[in-house]
Symmetry: C4
Subunit: 205 residues, 4 copies
């Protein structure tokens, strides 16, 4: 891959290793991506089925807006349309990371009827971009999982259109997709959410 | 040992170290094996009583279909017949790994009357070989533990004959035995199951 | 920075890395400081918004008693007045560390109406400076969080005046601020408290 | 110190580091020892107040049967008489290790009225020296903590005389003292117990 995307793969490989070590990326679920260009839209995204703890350069694909593979080998992940939808509707997002934890899944299950995990009053919320006060109320919409990726991406499109200020969304019994303007920011968002999921799952037990 | 089996011991030593670090192999319980040949059947298996976190070449035995030791020193593990039974009835299995966690033991205890831990609807199920949808229903049969290895291996034989599509089985108050076509695949199966045990043990609490 | 404060940043950087690894400093919450001089009062304190796991020399500020920046770049953390108040009212304190855990937040929530987390009868209490018996009764006052730093520092002033023998205080839904005569002692205090929070949050569940 | 005891300090230093990393030795509670000689009885034991994760040669004392310091500097730990009592009444013990976990403390609290934590039916019990079957019933006597070391050591003497086959004892709201014929065996015993405490504390919740 070109220089820019090599740097992208390095950053995502490091994020994968860290997430794996913390137990946020066990098995091969989920996928990570970085935006390479907006016009025309090009992504660097993890290929399907790889363990996130030991990604290497061959585990990434470069794809365009139609999920066509421009570089790399392998099958695009089941979450590819989800990533494309987020980049289309969040013009400032340049990275999407994924985490999968028992705390998150259990909490989402408890809050599924409400359609969102709601977090308020915690200092850790200030880890989210633009949040200045712990009194901030953050919603993490919960979307039903589906093997029909197109249908699921339409649902996510609606969620993103309705919820302008969210930093992440949760796919039920799957995991958290969080974005940011940089890999570092997306990573900080995952950290803040996973910490608050742990707090909230203990509180509402 | 010969070149092939040395490579097997290296892979199992690494798996042991990783499992130990995650808290899946505390104490000296359980055993790991790799199939060296099918006809005649030969295994490389951990000897009894060694800590899994610091295995070295001397902690493995090469055994045949009758659990006779062909190479190496030490006592065959109490789980040897269990491993042989799995390899006989699962022609594609080439590696069996073991994990022991509080989440697994507690969950199996809760589900013992049902005879199996049932997992369905989770994205992480797609970490299991051949599973394409989160809607997949996976059963992990629970077998009573016994010091009579022959009796226990007959029970396991029946379980394997009845449950064609399982990826692992659980010995009560003992731990998970998962297999795969490679060490890597068996390891991914353990990861997926241990993650789902954590989720399920929190959900059904 | 000068030699003395460089040493301070090194010690705080190491504490940040350790706290991060244990999951006590996820996201960018909280701040760490070391007293550089008493008269006139000068602090080395973490700047706002940095992750605690990877602090470097550029993430610290040297400030005076009025929170004026003497050296370094960046915004003083929201907790700066809290630190200054502690140093003013605790003449022997030379280091303040911060930890943020689910156990602590949940426990403080349960005890908020009592105004303090009370810990008694545990051997681990002897990890606190001056505590000679496990029968010691330790109070950790819980203070409501506020974006109004001046108001919050007045509340903390009262708490410190009323509670002469405390080793730390808890800001609600935020985290623990613990102090000591050295970085090492402050670190040991955080360790003891976080361990006891884990015990107490399991006991009173 | 002499060659023999230097090797003892190295082994205990390593055990301390490992226990610390797993969260079994936070703060400065507890103490570790190795028997240097039986007649006359000489111990290498950790001095009071040191963190177990970063022990070095200066953190150990060599003491005799009267707890007199033969070599090294520092105050003997509050647990010294407890160690001496175990070595006197368990002629094969050559190492005593200590662990302190939330799971253990909470479980002991629940079982305090019974005078012991009872563990039965678990495969992990076979990690204890001499235990051949998971059906084995292991008792871990729970002793009330006391600042009066002499009184406490008399209670422990009675416990050791009454309970011939135990591998460890628990001091209430303090932690587990486990012994073995080698450092490695004592370490395996701690591992087995801490694992089973985690299982039992989840089961009886």
């Amino acid at each position: 891959m070109a220089e820019l995307s090599r740097s992208a793969t390095e950053q995502l490989t490091e994020a994968g290793r860290i997430f794996y070590e913390r137990g946020w990326a066990r098995g091969a679920s989920g996928n990570f991506s970085v935006l390479l260009a907006r016009k025309p839209l090009r992504l660097c995204i993890t290929a399907a089925g790889n363990e996130k703890g030991t990604l290497d350069e061959t585990n990434f694909l470069e794809i365009d807006d139609d999920a066509e593979i421009l570089q790399g080998f392998g099958r695009p992940s089941d979450g590819t349309l989800l990533h494309l939808t987020i980049y289309r509707l969040r013009p400032r997002a340049r990275c999407i990371l994924y985490s999968q934890t028992a705390a998150g899944i259990v909490l989402a299950e408890k809050n599924f009827v409400d359609g969102a995990i709601t977090l308020q009053g915690f200092e850790a919320l200030k880890g989210l971009s633009g949040v200045k006060s712990h009194e901030h109320k953050e919603r993490v919409p919960i979307v039903e999982n589906s093997q029909d990726q197109i249908a699921r991406s339409h649902v996510i499109e609606n969620v993103l259109l309705e919820s302008k200020s969210i930093h992440a969304l949760f796919v039920r019994r799957h995991g958290l997709f969080a974005w940011g303007e940089t890999v570092e920011e997306a990573r900080r968002h995952v950290e803040a959410f996973e910490f608050l999921f742990e707090v909230a799952s203990r509180t509402t037990a």
